[in-house]
Amino acid sequence: MILEAKDIKKSYGNRFNRTEVLKGIDMNIEKGEFVSIMGASGSGKTTLLNVLSSIDRVSSGHIQIEGADITQMKDKQLAHFRKNDLGFIFQEYNLLDTLTVKENILLPLSIRNMKKDEVDRQFERVAGELGIHELSGKYPNEISGGQQQRTSAARAFIHQPKIIFADEPTGALDSKSASNLLKKLQQMNVASRSTIMMVTHDATAASYSGRVIFLKDGLVYSTLRRGGRPQEEFYKEIMNTQSVLGGVGVES
């Protein structure tokens, strides 16, 4: 068990005008799992990802990552925790325009004392796996959106974090770049046994994962497991659940 969330609640607003976004969510994620979170817009999926990934604080409840309770951590401990154990991929890539692809990828390693050849070895590994090796000297505005997102993914994997959080990673990509990226994520998930948690509203994207958790109105509505089934079959089941939820075609 790598991540264990118990009765997570999160609400926004002041004393007089509160909106409860998460109403008590329990969740367990095993090491090496690839989990998708789906739900209609407003169901709280991005908020859930934010609190699980320590970007936002919970209102109540506990989150344990490998036995450490991150809801109890101080700011400095959280920073340390992010540095070692977490990786992030965002919809809008979040690359620094002023740095080359290689520099962007190596950014998480630059804050720890690592030997240069070890750093280069890590870079060769992720860049090779994600197929962006030949781009390493380019700047983000010189490469395509798909390539930028793979750069962003490489940055998330480079320091071999325990969990990678991805918020709509394919949201800004065309379907070909999207499936390309998802295949790579799937491969990395299998190859390096890294745990991936992804928020998406796209059933195709979700069908690449091993488990899909549906949220509705701040609560877990249902969970689908792929098991040994082919991807197409899993995709159909996701679509069915989504139509029951009333979330078909609803953009997040």
Binding site: I55, D56, N94, L96, L99, I111
Partner: protein, 642 residues
């Protein structure tokens, strides 16, 4: 690849984004440094008779400058923090704690700051030499400008900017402490405009704002008519216009623009999309800033106009009160100097002219609002002189000319040409026709005591002096003793005559240079501070536009995809610039006009020319920033499609 190197590289590649920020910093430093340097320039201070005035002027000016610079730099810093929040968020995501992020900010700012400080001091040094030359020219002092470099001035400037640096770091620290990571990541996506509907409240407030400003303006024109209430009125005017301006920006502008929008009934053009609808909400959220800019613009335009009016009118004012080169209090003094000038071989002309005091009725040719000034009775004191002393003036026995009415008096006295003017003395009355009015005095103020002087025919003069009342006769006939230098007066002649052992006299040239120096100094300091304000407020508006252009990039993209050409979008944006920059400027100019109009006559003799020059120059420099913003927008629009 260690972090510091990445951060430094990131920073240096980003440096063109900070361009204007760095420019503004360098500008502030140069300005302040040159100001301090000039105030420490001893050689100049010695030369100027108004040395103490100069140092007080500089102290007041430097305090104002500091206030402007601090506000400006802190404002610029908040904009840059906002721009960089995504980067800062990323640093935190990869596991830097806030302490480290804060240290990065300190490092970057230190580079920007101390780099700008050094460059700024260098520029400031050159600038101060140039400004010193301008200052000395304004004050009409001959002095070569040396190259004095003062370490004390460097120290003072460095101290101030280190102080500002500490302030900024506190600001950054609070920002980091307060802002949650999540907020930082999403800050770019939230826009500051709130698109609530405009209700009846807005309409009412919109009307109220405009009305308050109008009433304030009206009161300002009534100041002189109600002298007893003047303090109350001044505060009323200030309160009404400032609060009115705020409400105007907060509600009235949105209200007016919304009326225009409604009248189009949904058929909005590209211009409307880019200007009307955006400005409507932006103005509201920026009301405080815009009010500040408008009010301080008004203040600096007003003060600059008034000081320029003084400077501009100096020669004429002295001319009006001092018709001769030298005036003496006694006949003996005149004789003494006649001898002295003879010895030195200087050609001159002496003038001796008697004048009698008389009262004139405030009816017929003279209409006066004497109640306003608590005068008793219905007569006005006048000096009367004979036309025999003026070669160029020949009057008939029933004619008179009025000369030298002080400008303050002109605000409550009006003359009517070709109307009868009646001199009275006890029972005796004599009416003459007013045929001409001359600004220039024929008697210096030390003889006329600030009353107007009437010129009459020699026979009338004799007649009037015979009928002078006993009370007036007791004061005796006033005599003018004066000398005009034929070749024109010069400082050499003044220095020759002006010895301690010699009898006292009044000199026109001495008064003129003295007043020119005083008014020139004031004007210089005010212009300096005003200019600093102009540039900083221009920069603030420019930064705002740069920020907005980034937020609106998406809209340009959509518009261009919809088929609007670059030119059409630019036209819409030009309109937006005109409103964003024009409205505060217009409000500032209007405020300044009414302020100057209310009290200019206390400062000089001419209002329109100096005021319009100041306003013109101010508007010109100000619009440069609008142009700069437009150029920036052009670039953004061109790049929006790619």
């Amino acid at each position: 690849m260690n972090l510091n190197r990445i951060i430094l590289k990131n920073f240096f590649r980003n440096i063109k984004n900070y361009g204007l920020y760095i420019f503004a910093l360098i500008f502030s430093v140069s300005l302040y440094f040159s100001f301090v340097l000039m105030s420490k320039d001893e050689s100049a201070a010695e030369e100027l008779s108004s040395g103490t005035m100069m140092s007080t002027g500089f102290i007041v000016g430097s305090v104002l400058l500091i206030v402007i610079i601090v506000t400006f730099v802190m404002f610029a810093n908040t904009i840059f923090l906002k721009r960089r929040n995504q980067e800062l968020a990323l640093f935190q995501l990869i596991g830097l704690d806030r302490g480290r992020v804060f240290r990065i900010l300190v490092l970057e700012n230190a580079i920007i700051y101390f780099g700008s400080l050094m460059v700024g001091i260098l520029f400031g040094f050159l600038l101060s030499r140039m400004l010193m030359m301008i200052l000395l020219r304004i004050m009409q002092v001959e002095l070569s400008v040396g190259l004095n470099f003062s370490m004390a001035a460097v120290g003072q400037t460095a101290l101030l900017f280190i102080g500002i640096f500490v302030l900024l770091m506190i600001q950054n620290f609070i920002f980091l402490k307060r802002t949650r990571l999540l907020q930082m990541m999403t800050m770019n996506r939230t826009s500051e405009s709130d698109t609530r509907r405009l209700g009846t409240g807005t309409v009412l407030m919109g009307v109220l704002g405009l009305a308050m400003v109008a009433v304030g303006y009206y009161f300002s024109t009534q100041l002189m008519e109600n002298v007893s209430l003047i303090f109350l009125l001044v505060f009323g005017v200030l309160g009404l216009t400032i609060i009115g301006t705020y409400i105007t920006f907060k509600f009235s502008v949105a209200f007016v623009l919304n009326m225009i929008r409604k009248s189009k009934k949904g058929h909005v053009s590209v211009t409307d999309v880019l200007s009307l609808t955006r400005i409507m909400f932006k103005m509201k959220s920026n009301a405080f800033l815009l009010t500040l800019i408008a009010v301080i613009s008004a203040l600096s335009i007003g003060l600059m106009s008034l000081s320029y009016i003084t400077y501009y009118s100096t020669e004429k004012m002295v001319e009006n009160t001092m018709p001769h080169d030298y005036v003496f209090y006694e006949e003996e003094a005149l004789e003494f100097y006649e001898e002295l000038l003879d010895e030195e071989g200087v050609d001159y002309e002496s003038i001796q002219m008697p004048a009698v005091d008389y009262e004139a009725k405030t009816e017929g040719a003279i209409s006066a609002d004497l109640e306003a000034l608590d005068f008793n009775g219905s007569t006005l004191y006048m000096n009367v002189v004979s036309d025999a002393h003026f070669g160029s003036v020949a009057l008939g026995p029933n004619e008179t000319i009025i000369t030298g009415t002080p400008s303050v008096m002109q605000t409550f006295i009006d003359y009517t040409l070709h109307a009868p003017m009646t001199f009275v003395s006890d029972d005796y009355e004599r009416s003459l026709e007013l045929v001409d009015i001359k600004e220039t005095a024929v008697l210096p103020s030390m003889v006329s005591y600030g009353s107007p002087t009437a010129i009459v025919d020699e026979t009338v003069y004799q007649e009037l002096s015979e009928h002078q009342s006993d009370e007036m006769q007791e004061q005796g006939v006033k005599m003018l003793h004066a000398i005009d230098i034929t070749e024109g007066d010069s400082m050499d002649i003044l220095n020759m005559m002006n010895r301690e052992e010699n009898p006292v006299f009044e000199s026109k040239i001495q008064q003129q240079t003295g007043q020119l120096q005083a008014s020139g100094m004031t004007m210089f300091v005010i212009a300096f501070v005003g200019f600093a304000f102009l540039v900083t407020s221009g920069c603030i508006l420019y930064f705002k536009q740069v920020g907005e252009s980034e937020e609106e990039k998406g809209s340009y993209n959509v518009l261009r995809k919809l088929g609007f050409s670059e030119r059409e979008i630019i036209r819409g944006l030009s309109f937006k610039m005109i409103i964003t920059f024009g409205v505060p400027l217009l409000v500032g100019l209007l405020h300044a006009y009414f302020a100057v109009n209310a009290g200019w006559f206390l400062f000089g003799t001419e209002m329109w020319t100096p005021m319009l020059i100041v306003m013109g120059v101010y508007a010109l420099f100000y619009s440069l920033f609008a142009l700069l913003s437009l150029v920036h927008y052009k670039k953004v629009v061109r790049e929006s499609l790619t």
